[in-house]
């Protein structure tokens, strides 16, 4: 992949709303070329979507809990872990699924409105799946940093003095 494409991906990964004009100036290419690059990267599934990082704890009256669940499963001949993973990741309350090395097999991130809701998902939906051997649920108490962004830190926090030589 070209160096400029990698730079473009890194810029968009940090700020999905950065406009083409700004990007084109930064990468020293035309706006049309930025368009083309983005289309190409979308087509190649290098870019899968554009989302916004929300700190829900700052949203008034919003209730929500999140949990990370360690799941042990029995892999199935021929399809390995993929089939069971797909059974799990299709639930809308599941936000992320990773196949892990180490003590368990799948790491599942789940969000719900209440602890009860998440618990019910685990006991009713997840642990009852055929090949699931065990689950360990960890509720998230506080998010400090997510996807490279520190939550309690504004981006306008410049500690430098105004004019220096």
């Amino acid at each position: 992949m070209e160096q400029k494409e990698i730079e473009l991906l890194k810029l968009l990964e940090k700020n999905g709303r950065m406009d083409n004009d700004t990007i084109s100036k930064m990468l020293d290419v035309s706006s049309a070329e930025v368009d083309e690059m983005i289309k190409k990267l979308e087509k190649e599934h290098a870019i899968l979507g554009y989302s916004t990082l929300v700190d829900w704890s700052n949203v008034y009256e919003y209730e929500g809990v999140a949990a990370l669940i360690d799941v042990k499963v029995t892999p199935v001949r021929g399809v390995g872990f993929d089939k069971i993973a797909s059974r799990i990741y299709r639930f809308p309350e599941v936000k992320a699924v990773y196949l892990m090395s180490g003590a368990y097999d799948l790491s599942v991130s789940v969000e719900g409105k209440t602890m009860m809701e998440v618990s019910r998902f685990v006991s009713d939906k997840l642990s009852t799946l055929d090949t699931v051997l065990s689950t360990t649920t960890h509720f998230i108490l506080k998010k400090y940093k997510h996807d490279g962004i520190i939550f309690d830190e504004g981006d306008d926090d410049d500690k430098r003095i105004m004019v220096t030589p």
């Binding site: 730079e7 930064m26 990468l27 430098r160 105004m162 004019v163």
Partner: protein, 394 residues
Amino acid sequence: MSESYLANHVKELQPSGIRKFFDLASQMENVISLGVGEPDFVTPWNVIEASYHSLEQGYTAYTANAGLIELREEIGKYLRETFSISYNPEDQILVTVGASQAIDLALRAIVNAGDEVIVVEPCFVSYSPTISLAGGVSVSVSATADNEFKVTPEQIEAAITPRTKAIVLCSPNNPTGSVLSKEELYEIAQVVQKHDLIVLSDEIYAELAYDEAVSSIASVDGMEERTIVISGFSKSFAMTGWRLGYAVGPVAIMQAMTKIHQYTMMCAPTMAQHGALEALRHGNESVREMKTSYRQRRNFVVKALNEMGLSCHLPGGAFYVFPSIKETGYSSEEFAQRLLEEERVAVVPGQVFGESGEGYIRCSYATSIKQLDEAMKRMNRFVKRNSETNEPTV
């Protein structure tokens, strides 16, 4: 107490022109500052953590006058690998309190009363005052826009007199961002050798070059014995507040500088030296990332300035651009003052860096792209408005 108590040579020193803008800008709200001469990054975390750790371990005492030997060894290794110049950590490398102290020590070590030292303007505001404080006379040579603010060997030669002792060079340059190529350094070196001068080579921005790698004039044949290379951690590792720099050079000069340093400073701060050690050992990736970000912002700002009619060459290094504001008909100072008052953008008028900076402004792009974008919009508005009403008379 009356001013008459002050030393004459200090009374004669002019306060820096930058001060005035600092005072003006800091009284206002909602100002976007492109006037900051330091990185917008916070020091890489591993460096901060290493410094913490050194404090926890109780490294709170003085170090050797010249600095921690491990640090001097790492500096030696870095210079050898990056610029192919080689210095003995035992007696040719001195760790200082910022590059600023290194400049001061170098000048005090070599300048006799009345000796002339050539400075290439526009340049960092401290060179001339530091030369005066060392008892020398600063002689200005003006680099001009038609040569992308790079000094020529002919200009240097024309300024040399029997009293000329040294020349201060800074590449990549503050305030213009210009970088002297290997060939240009070679040509300058020939003049320097012909007239038996010493070079103070301020290479504090050497890591921040975006198009081609920077060369050190000390790497030119015959120059190692007459060059004092000055650098530090402030710009490359975003460590300005740590105040840590270094100087390397011929043994006799480094011994003299170390002697002054020993009497006036003892040693550079110990915790900062431990941080710097980590920076040199494991800081490459951070430098690479910061460099990519500066390059992107440089491209952005140069494009935006040229589009709004402030012509500006693409500087090879540092984090400054030095566009011409002559189209507006204002002087640098008027431009900067009005821009600040009308649009709340702080830039530094070019003439504070020397007469040949008149007609230009220094904009630092070491600020977030969001802020830069807004600053360019405001400046564009300002330029459009002022070019109409302030058409230069023909």
